[in-house]
Symmetry: C2
Subunit: 251 residues, 2 copies
């Protein structure tokens, strides 16, 4: 089943407009009678398609669905801006894995330099990727992506917990920090996760982040690429907080 994030106004008018309507009419070729999920990011509804045109698809709501598909903590990913199209891959998969906010961050060893005028269009593109990934993974919310800041302009004061993914800890055999932090997380806490770009974190950045309250953590024994670290972090938080041990097997 497809899921669509629509505006409050469209929800009130029981309609889907814009690119989504176009997709339903021309790619999916729905004719009416099909079932989809619609959401205004607050509530999720099972809806039945009534009419289809390229500009507007109308529906009737069948029932409200429990919408709690979100991680029990708010995780903001501060990702040192990587090379090539890795940032898009990171946004796509981080969204599936439950990130609340993704902040592509310029750090000393980021190789990409974006011209000022290109930043806005890049953010629009990132937001589109996040919206599509949120729909595809049945998220209740779309992660926020609203700027591409330099590290030192970011205010980290509002976070309860600050995790710095740091490969030197893995090389030194540190294996306790990450699990100790994650296993102590409480529902609704705000978690900042910082991951360096390919070249890693500069010494002055390391000191700066430690002073801001970040705790350097190894993610297992192996050295992960920059784009792999975020998968480890979000998967582990889900494993620790969302999954339970069985009373009985559900086959």
């Amino acid at each position: 089943m497809q899921k669509y994030f629509i505006t409050k106004e469209d929800l009130a008018l029981n309609r889907i407009t814009g690119d989504d309507a176009y997709q339903i009419a021309t790619v999916l070729r729905f004719k009416g009678g099909e079932t989809v999920m619609v959401s205004d990011t607050f509530s999720n509804y099972l809806a039945k398609i009534k009419s289809v045109s390229k500009d507007e698809v109308t529906f009737e709501i069948i029932e409200e669905k429990a919408g709690d598909m979100e991680l029990p903590v708010f995780v903001s990913i501060y990702q040192g801006y990587p090379k090539g199209d890795k940032m898009e891959e990171i946004i796509k998969h981080s969204t599936e894995l439950g990130a609340s906010k993704i902040v592509p961050t310029f750090m000393k060893r980021s190789i990409v330099k974006l011209e000022e005028k290109k930043i806005d269009s890049r953010i629009v593109r990132f937001q589109k990727i996040a919206k599509e990934a949120a729909e595809q993974s049945f998220r209740s919310k779309i992660p926020t992506i609203d700027s591409i800041p330099y590290l030192k302009t970011i205010n980290f004061d509002d976070y309860d917990v600050k995790i710095l993914c740091y490969e030197e800890n893995a090389k030194n055999g540190e294996l306790t920090n990450f699990k100790s932090i994650v296993s102590n997380l409480k529902k609704d806490q705000r978690v900042a996760v910082l991951i360096g770009p390919e070249g890693g974190i500069d010494d002055t950045e390391l000191e700066y982040l430690k002073n801001k309250g970040f705790i350097p953590c190894a993610l297992g024994k192996r050295i992960l690429r920059t784009e792999t670290a975020v998968f480890y972090v979000l998967s582990s938080i889900s494993y620790e907080m969302e999954l339970k041990k069985w009373v009985k097997l559900v086959l």
Copy 2:
């Protein structure tokens, strides 16, 4: 520091040959005196470069390093053959995250059809990706990739534990199977993980796999793409089995 997997013979002769020697001479432009890691996949050594040419780099061994960078269980990933170049992405990241064996598997809903004659060259390419990812992540071993079988030709009898990543379990709110299995794993157990291609697992395949002892599992609350599922599985196994809670913070 770079890591190189070399043959037993080259290790005995204290030399690096082939593509790796070429890379050291022309890309890294080492001149001698630099330190690298070398491994025959059984032992790991810190080595100092003595001489460099495009055909042969010689070294002297400084010391043997503890080589246990491997997950405490043997995880074989049976990945329903996906579209495009996703299989390469999966091999790269699964290697970083500790998979022992990766088996691209033709399933009913795999869209890719490889001609017989192309399979061998594809396997060679996959093995190259796994070797590079193992070097980059400081693995002690390179994961095995030695065939692209059809699902029903695979013998799963030797596995202690069989995990089927199944999105319908996530849709139905099942949240206990995966963690119950992973938290009960014992060192050196053999774990089979099966992940369907983009279109998912066919009903007849589902029944077949259940009969073979696979347990369907949700991976958190959200619906993951085929290429994201494996990251969740391997990260969670590392988190559960490799990481510990602290006695004290290591800063």
